[in-house]
């Protein structure tokens, strides 16, 4: 979405009214159904609220606790929403206090805090015997991600990483049916992907909800500005390659069923102020994947100063191309003119033809060629509807796994592979060298 803001200062006015709010006091324990899962959430900022909203649309999920250090804004807002849905819960500022008091009645914790908190909080929750859903990326460091994988292994508890494309039925259909089983793209030779975003101002905050410096320092934030814009600071966030790129790197790993063996990259902070934007705002990377004695190369870019074409992944094979994006439910397929006919896959319901010209149907040709105007590339999509919020299916997979009804779609090891790759892209940027990756780099 393109946005531009224009300013002209006007009359001076006083600051806004101070509003106060308090977290809910828990009432009597709500009647709990046997199949209900009791969950807590740590971190209810923008992403946490999306997850919370998705969870509230899943029957049988009961929130017992919610935690956020930003009491006057995030915590009060989330608590208000939970009260509206009649979820009897307690609100906490410190997750350690929450774990101590609530662990006995919880099944799982959902973590949506800034990246640098993930490892400590996820490990603590797993050690407390709770299943964990943690937002991607796993951590702002590979070491943090490694600790999370180890804690999941040692605790025997589930750790789902929030790379929700793994539970998106459109992605699942394209990967498992279109690419792997039907092999409609033929030999995949090249991939490209991007995550482009329009320029946006630093995140602000309502003045009435400014946190005091001592409280911020207690939780590791040098200032309110950094707290609100943690994504750009190296000690707080994993940077755009981790935050956005890890989702798409995981798609490459998943569709190719491989891990990269080398990365090359260049990047820098070229638009924003380097003092407030420590991480790159522009990244160009090439990843190499070994697939059946050949190399598949991925050209990947992140541009934080122009939103053109948004974010997507594009797979190019000898027989066809697939352009897929979580945004706007996009999954477009283009058959090469020289490729085997796809008509039967349309007839079998695996594809939908959206181009004007129908393919010849197998076995029904009555002439060698039907003479008509020149043939354009045929366009298809997939007959998969996804009428749920994008995180909801991934959360449902997590809850089903807790109940023993499913396997996790994105366990810690999967998230770790993306985290390792993201870190190597940064290493390539910093050193200016091609960085090799070995199989053991992805193992714990």
């Amino acid at each position: 979405m393109a946005r531009r803001a224009f300013f002209r200062s006007a009359a001076a006015l006083g600051s806004g009214a101070v509003l106060t709010s308090r977290a809910a006091e828990p009432k009597a324990e709500a009647e709990k159904k046997a199949e209900d899962l009791s969950v807590a959430m740590i971190g209810v900022g923008a992403q946490g609220q999306l997850l919370l909203g998705s969870c509230l649309k899943i029957p049988g999920i009961r929130f017992r606790a919610v935690c956020d250090i930003w009491k006057d804004f995030n915590l009060d807002g989330a608590s208000q929403m939970l009260r509206a849905y009649n979820h009897e819960h307690r609100a906490y500022v410190d997750y350690r206090e929450m774990l101590e008091k609530e662990r006995q009645q919880l099944n799982a914790v959902i973590i949506a805090t800034p990246d640098f908190c993930h490892a400590e909080q996820a490990v603590a929750c797993l050690k407390a015997g709770l299943h964990v859903y943690c937002e991607a990326p796993m951590s702002n460091t590979v070491e943090g991600a490694r600790q999370m994988v180890q804690a999941a292994k040692e605790s025997g508890k589930l750790l789902q990483i929030g790379m929700q494309r793994r539970s998106n039925p459109r992605y699942i259909h394209c990967c498992e049916k279109v690419v792997r089983e039907l092999k409609l793209l033929g030999q995949i030779t090249a991939i490209s992907g991007q995550w482009n975003r329009s320029v946006q101002p630093d995140r602000g905050w309502p003045k009435r909800a400014t946190m005091d410096e001592a409280a911020l320092a207690r939780y590791g934030y040098p200032s309110m500005q950094q707290f609100r814009n943690w994504q750009w600071h190296k000690k707080l966030g994993g940077g755009p390659v981790a935050e956005f790129g890890s989702h798409q790197i995981d798609v490459f790993n998943w569709f190719l069923d491989a891990r990269p063996t080398a990365v090359m990259a260049a990047g820098g902070t070229e638009y924003y102020d380097r003092k407030t934007h420590e991480w790159c705002d522009t990244v160009m990377a090439i990843l190499e994947y070994p697939v059946r004695q050949r190399t598949v190369r991925v050209l990947y870019q992140i541009v934080a100063s122009n939103g053109n074409l948004g974010y997507y992944e594009k797979f190019l094979g000898a027989d066809g191309a697939l352009v897929i994006s979580e945004a706007a439910g996009l999954a477009n397929l283009f058959r090469e003119a020289t490729a085997p006919d796809w008509g039967k896959w349309v007839n079998l319901g695996f594809l939908v033809q959206t181009g004007k010209r129908p393919d010849q149907t197998d076995g029904t040709r009555t002439s060698v060629v039907s003479i008509t105007d020149s043939v354009t590339q045929t366009h298809y999509t997939v007959p998969v509807e996804f009428k749920e919020p994008i995180q909801k299916a991934h959360l449902e997979n997590f809850f089903a796994a807790i109940q023993g009804k499913a396997q996790l779609n994105c366990p810690a090891e999967v998230g770790y592979a993306a985290a390792v790759t993201a870190s190597k892209i940064y290493e390539a940027i910093e050193t200016g060298r091609k960085i090799g990756l070995k199989a053991e780099d992805f193992q714990i």
């Binding site: 300013f7 002209r8 009359a11 006015l13 806004g16 923008a46 649309k57 003045k207 009428k387």
Partner: protein, 333 residues
Amino acid sequence: MATTFEIVSVHPDVRYAEQAAWAAFELLDRLEQELSRYVENSDISRINSLAADQPVLVGLACLECLEISARIHAETDGAFDVTAGRLVDFWRDRDSIAQSSDENRFGVPPLGGFLKSPTKVGTTNHAFHSSLGGKTRNDGSLEEDLRHARRQTGMHLIELDKTSHTVRLRTCGVRIDLGGIGKGYAVDRMARLLLDWGIEDALIHGGRSTALAFGKPARQEGWPVSLMHPDSGETVSRPINLCDRAISGSGLQKGLHIVDPRTGRLAVNRRAAWSSAPTATLADALSTAFMVMTPEEIERYCANHPDVTAVVTRDAGGREANEVQIQLYGCDL
């Protein structure tokens, strides 16, 4: 993405005002994702794909919008009806007006005058209508199609449960369309956010067809707005100083249609209607309803709701096209 939302605010700290506006636009994004019928995983799409008697848990915004819609439906004797999506589809498909822009589909924008406002703090492009679908039917069964669409229209066909936060359809095939209220609801929510940020003087509009103002610019009695006729583009009212109120317009523009949900037929009573009300949600819904209500119904509504103003064009046959007469009901603008 055809409708432009804009926030114009007055604040001593420009950067702060920009950040507040940005937060409001992010809220708008989230609301569109929940409320647009044309977003495949919105709450409205989830409801529209339900089988009969199958409850679905929805978000607070969706439930609140539907509750307000039900209230306005009752207060307007059915002239405002968010379940009329099938009828909207029917008339759109019948006339194959899909080439027209999304913004114009619902006959906007008859409001004008915002650009004269003293401070401008941010724009975004947005729409609650982002795609068009359907095909033209030429099989002679149009009347039957219309009857079918009417059977799938009516607030009695949806069941809201505030306790369980669920919505249920009494029959499948109902198509809820918040096109007549979603913009206003978004504007109200954005205003609430700005007030929480301490922005006390601002005007917000969605597509220039629904505007809400609170506070006022310096040395002004309110935010100057005017009403613009959809055909002539001429101002049809004296300048209005909008303050702590909302105003909204609906109209027939470029041959486009508004459907009367009570008859299933196209609105032909008038070319344009405006409403002024305490909230943008109410103003947005009422301007749509006033397009199809009779003068007597509008008069009665305004008598029963003294905080509402209605302004409608009087379009008698035979008059010169450029001769615009308007009728005002209720309190003065």
